[in-house]
């Protein structure tokens, strides 16, 4: 079983990748390694390799990019005339091209908007006679939705009868009266996409400095000169602020602010895919008349993930703390209550996980994408909440417009490498392919995660990748270890042991999600031995 690591896995010592030196200067610095920051960085590398991405966390996609519903919206839910809607509709159209070469799955599952008597406020329903109400629910609302979408440039919307709704999604409430199917809705794993974008950028010369916090900017004569970080200073004429919920604070540091982010969290329940695969085939949402929406979220819905897990959510709760990723009992109750109506017999017992993310809206609720007119060279990409994932390609396009103006060459590099090789996923291969891989490297035959069928080879690849996974969650996001129904009960210590071995650290230093989150606190007997020696001293 001896043998070197597979050649594609370790091109350089991992230490070097974990703690790269801070470059003295860069043509552009991106603050924030979420999906937007990484997408912008990747785009910049099409023109110049000289871009640096900074993030205070130990991995990319540590904010909202890891905790959203993976949906690529069409724009149908957005307010007409907003920047958000325009970029969403355009971003959605651009998605196939956006993910091309990244090795990330993207599929268009569509959205089914269901119209039921609960789609209108009770007082409206009561003021009508049954025929009028039926006319409203069966004809007028669906026609209105289609007209609204078409005006925004959304194509392919289709009105469905009750029968067609129930045929398309048999688990939907029998109270459905009609529906609209929007074929443009898509699914993409948001953190896999972010990781892929980051790695694609690295392949093309970008440098990622994680665990590096921005503390200020050097601005001289109204122009950006550099970024000051917890690890030193980088001279640069160009900063792209993609700091998510912290974008307002980062902008203030440069004097390029003028907007405030107020965090709003959203909780989602995730179900066992063995139970819920095909439970809903498209995303499903209950139509609610404008003004009925809960808070200011887009109402949420039921949707599959790319992997086939059913998701229900998200909620929308204003919070004070930008780090508040907790889930309250009230939110759980709200989700159950809401979806009990839309999907009367959804499999409650098959919940395997619940997660919460913090959205980054401004008070205007629209995206703030601008080249600062106060600080030259400072570009804000802020207020990016849902549908930020869907809008990403169009956001990048818009940002690049500014960046070209500000000095990023307009000429594409001839040496840009268009394809990021993805690590195969054992679970998705057929038996012949699996067998062939094991013959080459036996670690493809060592299953680490028994729920998701993740092999040792995949865990190693994640740790030795261009953006190395250095903790349990990092490995989990890249490989799906611990994402199944046992939630890491089987693989937890196995993954920790591999991380320890590969990073050359004791297992007791392995963390769940960066500093301060050790998985194990000591070795067995350590407490007792310490007590004994403590007695000796005392």
């Amino acid at each position: 079983m001896r043998g070197g690591k597979p050649d594609e896995m370790d091109r350089e010592p991992i230490r070097e990748k974990l703690e790269p030196r801070l470059p003295a200067r860069a043509q552009a610095v991106v603050v924030g390694a979420g999906v937007i920051g990484c997408a912008v960085a990747r785009e910049i590398t099409r023109y110049t390799p000289d871009v640096v991405v900074l993030d205070k966390e130990n991995d990319v996609a540590c904010g909202a990019s890891k905790a959203n519903n993976a949906e690529v919206h069409s724009g149908i839910g957005e307010e007409a005339g907003t920047l958000k809607q325009r970029l969403n509709v355009r971003g959605n159209h651009m998605y196939e091209g956006f993910v091309q070469g990244l090795g990330v799955e993207f599929k268009r599952q569509g959205l089914l908007i269901v119209v039921t008597p609960r789609s209108v406020p009770p007082e409206v329903a009561e003021s009508m006679n049954p025929q009028q109400l039926d006319e409203l629910l069966r004809v007028k609302i669906p026609e209105g939705i289609v007209a609204y979408g078409e005006a925004a440039g959304i194509r392919g919307l289709r009105i469905l009868s009750r029968e067609e709704v129930l045929k398309k999604e048999p688990n939907v409430t029998p109270e459905a009266v009609s529906g609209v199917f929007d074929p443009n809705y898509g699914l993409v794993c948001p953190y896999k996409l972010t990781i892929a974008l980051a790695e694609h950028a690295v392949m093309n010369g970008a440098r990622f400095l994680l665990n590096t916090e921005v503390t200020g900017f050097r601005v001289e004569g109204g122009e950006v000169r550099g970024v000051i970080t917890s690890r030193g200073e980088i001279a640069t004429p160009l900063v792209i602020n993609a700091a998510g919920v912290f974008a307002d604070e980062v902008a203030e540091m440069a004097g390029a602010g003028g907007f405030r982010i107020h965090p709003r969290k959203g909780a989602t329940l995730l179900f066992d895919r063995q139970v819920t695969s095909e439970y809903v085939r498209s995303s499903v949402a209950l139509f609610r008349m404008p003004g009925m929406k809960r808070e200011r979220s887009k109402g949420g819905g039921a949707m599959p993930t790319v992997e086939g897990n059913l998701q229900l959510g998200p909620t929308a709760v204003e919070v004070d703390d930008k780090y508040d990723t907790s889930i309250s009992a009230e939110e759980i109750e709200e989700i159950f209550e809401r979806f009990h109506y839309l999907l009367p017999d959804f499999p409650k017992d098959a919940v395997i996980s619940a997660f919460s993310g913090v959205r980054a809206p401004t008070y205007e609720e629209d995206f703030v994408i601008e080249a600062s007119n106060r600080v030259k060279g400072f570009v804000n990409v802020a207020g990016i909440q849902s549908p930020g994932l869907a809008s990403a390609p169009a956001i990048v396009e818009m940002v690049m417009g500014f960046l070209h103006e500000l000095g990023i060459p307009r000429e594409p590099r001839p040496d840009f490498r268009p394809v990021r090789p993805a690590i195969p996923r054992f679970a998705e291969l057929d038996d012949q392919e699996r067998d062939a891989l094991i013959r080459k490297d036996p670690r493809w035959g060592n299953i680490i995660c028994r729920c998701e069928y993740v092999t040792e080879a995949e865990v190693l690849a994640a740790i030795h990748s261009l953006i190395p996974a250095t903790d349990m969650d990092g490995v989990k996001r890249r490989t799906r270890t611990g994402m199944g129904r046992c939630q890491g009960g089987f693989c937890g210590h196995r993954v920790a042991a591999i991380l320890a071995r590969e990073l050359g650290r004791p297992v007791t230093e392995i963390t769940k999600s960066g500093e301060g989150s050790p998985v194990y606190l000591a070795e067995t007997k350590d407490f007792l031995r310490a007590e004994r020696s403590g007695h000796g001293q005392g």
């Binding site: 079983m1 001896r2 036996p442 060592n446 067995t524 007997k525 007792l528 031995r529 007590e531 004994r532």
Partner: protein, 129 residues
């Protein structure tokens, strides 16, 4: 001095709530038991409660890093924590035989601590794998 002590019988699912009355260590009365087993249990738990000690000790170069061990006979309940603490510094080398004596006459109780399983050394293949 006369005192009362409460016990819960563990010998059957009835879980009788036992009450033992003693005077200067002499058992006067047991109440609450449904059978003789319960009465005897209360007296034992009062006079000389005993427990089998089970814990692990560190093992060097084994297939796993901890070896489960067990006392060859029940030990006084009051000594269990001390017994486990005393074993915290013990380290053995693989291979270990099932039943191999790891520690003799722990805390002068006459009970030996033995290996509760066979533990093979880590093979070269394991190290390389």
């Amino acid at each position: 001095m006369r005192r009362k002590h409460a016990f819960t019988c563990i010998n059957c699912p009835l879980s009788c709530a036992l009450e033992l009355t003693e005077e200067d260590g002499e058992v006067l009365e047991v109440t609450g038991h449904e059978c003789e087993v319960g009465r005897r249990y209360a007296e034992e738990e009062f006079r000389d409660p005993r427990r089998t000690v089970t814990t692990t000790v560190r093992v060097r170069n084994g297939v796993i890093p901890q070896l489960p061990v067990v006392s060859t006979r029940p030990m006084p309940e009051a000594l269990v924590r001390e017994a486990v603490k005393a074993l915290a510094d013990v380290e053995v080398d693989a291979p270990v035989r099932d039943g191999q004596v790891i520690y003799r006459d722990l805390l002068g109780t006459g009970a030996d601590i033995i290996a509760a399983r066979r533990l093979d050394p880590r093979s070269r293949a394991d190290e390389e794998g």
